[in-house]
Symmetry: C2
Subunit: 241 residues, 2 copies
């Protein structure tokens, strides 16, 4: 997209977006900036939810699990606010190409982050369902711990990428995701080993939890990809070619 | 959103979207219509992929599984085309509120449908991994068959809802989704029953396949919700209140 394609539009009679009305234009740009701050706040909440959910799962900590489950409402609320702001700005401001791209990628990132909160809730619910036992047998604890740490690192990095618009850091998330995939494979190797002696129920729980960690990581990659696209106009696969 | 909020904008110097240039305005509306046709085509492809994937899973049919896996490229291609059309129209046409809503919901539905194709591929890959055996033990075959049928019905209905903009039919998908959730629970009951004698590996496969069916249904609900929002300006939960 190219801003010059839109240069022919000259707003008339519309005080809200008339370029000479500096005060109101500033309000517009403040609203655009607020989207970025809200997205960073969502990454912080999703990171915290994932950290607590992982600990709840490993330690069978019911209190932490409940915190994650009830805290998800906060992430959902910000998602709704972002959606409302985006639709409102689009309707009132006829944004030009660069701002449009910001608005659409904000919607997408917000959707990914909202989903990441849900995935942390799913992990917390697994912990709650198995309480007072831990859903994670001893020989899997280190792998699940590492999956939680990689997930937490990825969402923290995604937050920094949104705040800094650092493309190089955004591209790093692919390597983190490869690490998550390796841990996910290791989990299945351990689950399906002839030495597995915990039966079907823990296997089902671990299978689902593993899937939640892996999807969390995928969404973190999407968030970073959206920032890369926003800054460069290119998808990461185009840059890496 | 309200079109009148945008009434102050009068395009100047921009031939492409000048209202008096009927021929080019028609090209614009043809492009908007083409989005709807492409979305319906995606539902058709995702429905076919899900039907084949379910049969491949139940019958351990490697050929059908491979068809689903290689066919996903086609769904992804349409998703990319829709994204390009939406961004192009936004940049060139400064669409007003109603059209903006069409463009943004099209992007979202396309994202859901692309993901539904991925989920059918995941089911097909489960079938392929276990071939020449079936991943589904005899006592689970009827439940898995029903999950596939509900999934297929939901995506077919979502396609009809896009084509007809029928809000009442769009709201029906919630009840279908409840049915999917019941089948999903029955799957776990059977998996975790003391009579389960198939060990951990089939339990892991069925756990993941069950999750894929359930997510497929969730995305079908999202697609229908977007149509309801497009037509009424309200989310289904607001209508049902």
């Amino acid at each position: 997209m190219d801003d010059s394609a839109l240069a022919g539009f000259i707003p008339l009679q519309n005080d809200i977006s008339a370029p000479k009305d500096t005060k109101l234009r500033d309000a517009y740009h403040e609203e655009l900036d607020s989207l970025s701050h809200k997205l960073v706040e969502m990454t912080r909440l999703a990171r915290s939810a994932m950290a607590r959910a992982t600990t709840a799962l490993l330690d069978a900590d019911l209190r932490l699990a409940e915190e994650v489950i009830s805290g998800d409402e906060h992430i959902n609320k910000i998602d709704t606010e972002i959606e409302e702001t985006v639709f409102d700005l689009m309707a009132r401001q006829q944004p030009v190409a660069g701002d449009l791209r910001t608005l659409i990628t904000s919607l997408r990132m917000s959707g990914d982050l909202e989903r990441m909160g849900d995935l942390a809730v799913h992990i917390a619910k697994t912990a709650r369902r198995r309480h007072p036992e831990s859903a994670v047998p001893p020989e899997l604890q280190s792998t699940v711990l590492e999956m939680g740490q990689v997930a937490e690192r990825m969402i923290a990095k995604a937050g920094s990428v949104i705040a800094s618009q650092d493309v190089a850091m955004g591209l790093e998330l692919d390597a983190d995701d490869d690490q998550m995939d390796k841990l996910h494979k290791r989990l299945f190797t351990l689950l399906l080993a002839p030495t597995w002696k915990h039966g079907v129920e823990p296997a089902v729980d671990i299978t689902l939890a593993g899937r939640y960690f892996e999807r969390f990581a995928d969404h973190a990659v999407h968030v970073a990809e959206n920032v890369v696209y926003l800054v460069t106009g290119q998808r990461p696969e185009e840059i890496n070619q």
